[in-house]
């Protein structure tokens, strides 16, 4: 049992166990998977392998950060995968003006999407799941209009960004870590973060307390859109191609899984960035383990489903208290 590794917080009774599972289960899961791979997977312990996992997890992690904010405000953002696709198509359109301008165009595109879904949610009162579903369909379509098919991206800066490293740590992992720190700081230390949590806890109460509920909600989705766009840009750099048709497909599910498994409750009012990071790593390790042992892809899906059910079960038990 790897649980013993975290012995100091080992639970006494059932309710406590569930609470513990929600708070620390994800770290125990990551530890268990790491140990399993160290023992049973060929060539697992190598710098190159850890770099591979870090590079692959980076886009999912960045998207999950935005998703954590949306879920913390008692919402959800289903449009993230399509925003990645929109971002990659904008990158391809604007790359002629240089990679940084292309990045800015992509981020603006993502922010406009967030502004639209945020406005629908905050002002028109549309359910987040419906508003972002509309954007999910719309952005994918728009991405395909901007760029009808996969296009190879030939740019040295982007190639370096996607494949290079500093002192053995890939740029992609560094950027993801920096963004995670930034979002964690925002949630913990800024007024915006506290307002977001208050709104997620109880929107009517936040409204009565005179918090700028609408502005904060819109900001949440604008942030999520911007983060998804950055993820789309980085995924483009890694692939060295813009693929508007399949980039980001089912990304919303991976991101929601990372957030929920990481202990952020779907009922809002709480955002756990450390848990989200660990949640994304957990899913990455799970996928990698199954691929390395050459199990069919259906096994990956089933394994992910089991992890989600466990996470949601732990959260539900905690809610009962």
């Amino acid at each position: 049992m790897t649980d013993l590794a975290l012995g100091k917080s080992l639970p006494a009774d059932r309710a406590q166990l569930m609470r513990w599972l929600q708070d620390y289960g994800v770290y125990a899961g990551v530890t268990a998977l790491l140990l399993f791979n160290v023992v049973f997977t060929e060539n697992f312990v190598s710098g190159e392998n850890f770099r591979t996992q870090a590079v692959q997890v980076a886009p999912v992690l960045i998207v999950a950060l935005g998703m954590a904010l949306a879920i913390g405000s008692e919402g959800v953002d289903l449009s993230v995968g399509s925003v990645m696709a929109l971002a990659t198509s904008l990158v391809s359109l604007y790359l002629g003006y240089g990679p940084w301008l292309a990045l800015i165009a992509a981020i603006i595109g993502g922010m406009v999407c967030g502004l639209l879904s945020g406005s629908l949610i905050a002002y028109i009162g549309v359910q987040p799941i419906v508003a972002t579903l509309a954007l999910m369909v719309g952005c994918r379509g728009l991405a395909n209009v901007f760029l009808p098919q996969l296009e190879t991206v030939r740019d040295d800066t982007m190639a370096t960004l996607g494949t290079g490293d500093i002192l053995g740590i890939p740029y992609l992992a560094l950027i993801a870590a920096a963004l995670a720190a930034l979002v964690a700081f925002t949630v913990k230390r800024t007024t915006f973060g506290r307002q977001l949590l208050a709104i997620g806890d109880s929107r009517p109460a936040a409204q009565l307390a005179g918090l700028p509920v609408r502005r904060v909600l819109i900001m949440v989705y604008v942030c999520s859109g911007a983060l998804a766009a950055i993820a789309g840009f980085l995924a483009t750099a890694r692939l060295q191609a813009s693929d508007p048709t399949s980039l980001g497909n089912l990304m919303e599910l991976s991101a929601i899984t990372a957030v929920v498994v990481g202990g952020t409750p779907l009922s809002g009012g709480r955002v756990r960035i450390g848990g989200t990071v660990a949640g994304a790593i957990l899913i990455q390790l799970l996928t990698a383990t199954l691929i390395k042992h050459d199990l069919p892809s259906s096994a990956t899906q089933i394994a992910q489903a089991v992890v989600i059910v466990l996470a949601v079960y732990a959260a539900r038990e905690r809610g009962k208290q």
Partner: protein, 362 residues
């Protein structure tokens, strides 16, 4: 907050949103035109249509057997139902080829695209019939579920030719003929190329296509059967899906070369996944030719990959159905018997013909 002020801000925000989406939409209109232009160009640059290969069932179908009436193709209206969005080279080349041939022959063409939705394709075809299509060319998304179409088409005795995928129905009764590649054969030929590239020894990984797709099943079966039969020294040690997508092909290959650094070859069931594998190998510091890659499709990017030395061979899956589809319809409507099962000849690319073949690749 005053209710009035709130409404004003709400309105202005919605207005901003609408303005933004309009601006975006205006931006698209242009790029959409550009896109169709380029796809037309790629349609023109291809000269070679398809050739019929040996094989198929050998049965033929004549107009009397089907119960249709003779007509002059030049004065007829042909309806074309495409299955997937023209977002990949295969579909782009396929649609362009049908459109070009219709233009060349002066035939009126109606087109529809099912956007990967089976129910939409059924209603697309029914729409084409009600808009007055005398003949139908269908690129089916699925093999099943065609009964409603067949009912409305056979009531009017409209000849149907299906391309690239078959439908589960009776040839010469429910439809006239099927024109397409033999995917199992493509897998076998990929195995032949792989055996040549590796000398028939070593460990090979397979990047499978989308699960549950007959193209995946047949390309896998053809490959593994032929390898077992001809080169028992070549072992398939790894089989993972890359879902026909470049990004997935890259991610899976990255995992593969970490856990099996000595892998000698990769068979990718389409070009996109093969190109993803090339990215992964480059990222891992391998050199061109260290790991032999064989793919299926014949897109420009993959044939360029052969020229660069990263890919050993590509088996073509020819998407240019236009000339052969219209020739079949023409002969059939004149009263000549046509084949029920027309298997096309796919070429292949290797280091000897890649540079010359680059202009033919799509």
């Amino acid at each position: 907050m005053k209710p009035h002020a709130r409404r004003t801000t709400a309105r202005s925000l919605v207005a901003v949103g609408l303005a933004a989406s309009l601006a975006l939409a205006a931006g698209c209109a242009k790029s959409e035109d550009d896109a169709s232009d380029t796809s037309k160009d790629s349609g023109k640059s291809q000269d070679a249509g398809q050739e019929v290969a040996e094989g198929g069932s050998g049965k033929t179908c004549a107009i009397g057997d089907y119960g249709a009436k003779k007509l002059d193709l030049k004065k007829a209206t042909v309806g074309f139902s495409q299955s997937e969005k023209e977002a990949n080279p295969f579909r782009i080349a396929e649609t362009a080829s049908i459109k070009d041939e219709a233009k060349k022959r002066g035939v009126k063409l109606l087109t529809a695209n099912a956007q990967s939705k089976p129910d939409k394709q059924i209603s697309d075809v029914q729409d084409l019939i009600s808009k007055g299509a005398d003949l139908l060319v269908i690129a089916p998304l699925n093999s099943d579920g065609w009964d409603p179409v067949i009912k409305s088409a056979s009531a009017k005795k409209i000849p149907i030719v299906t391309i690239d995928r078959k439908i589960n129905a009776t040839a010469c009764k429910d439809y006239v003929s099927f024109i397409g590649s033999d995917f199992t054969e493509q897998g076998k030929r990929a195995a032949d190329q792989m055996i040549e590239a590796t000398g028939g020894k070593g460990e090979v990984a397979i990047l499978l296509g989308a699960p549950g797709n007959n193209v995946t099943t047949e390309r896998t079966k053809g490959f593994t059967d032929r390898v077992k039969e001809k080169a028992p020294g070549l072992k398939v040690v790894f089989k993972q899906t890359g879902e026909f997508v470049r990004e997935k092909g890259q991610s899976v290959t990255e995992q593969l070369i970490q856990s099996k650094p000595d892998i000698s070859a990769i068979y990718a069931e389409n070009d996109e996944m093969g190109l993803g594998a090339v990215n992964a190998l480059k990222g891992a510091g391998k050199k061109a030719g260290d790991v032999k890659i064989v793919t299926v499709d014949g897109t420009k990017d993959a044939v360029e990959g052969i020229v660069d030395g990263w890919i050993s061979g590509v088996v073509e899956s020819n998407p240019r159905f236009g000339p052969l589809a219209f020739k079949t319809l023409d002969e059939f409507t004149q009263g000549k018997p046509v084949g029920q099962d027309i298997v096309i000849k796919d070429t292949e690319y290797n280091k000897d013909n890649a540079e010359a073949g680059l202009s033919k690749a799509y």
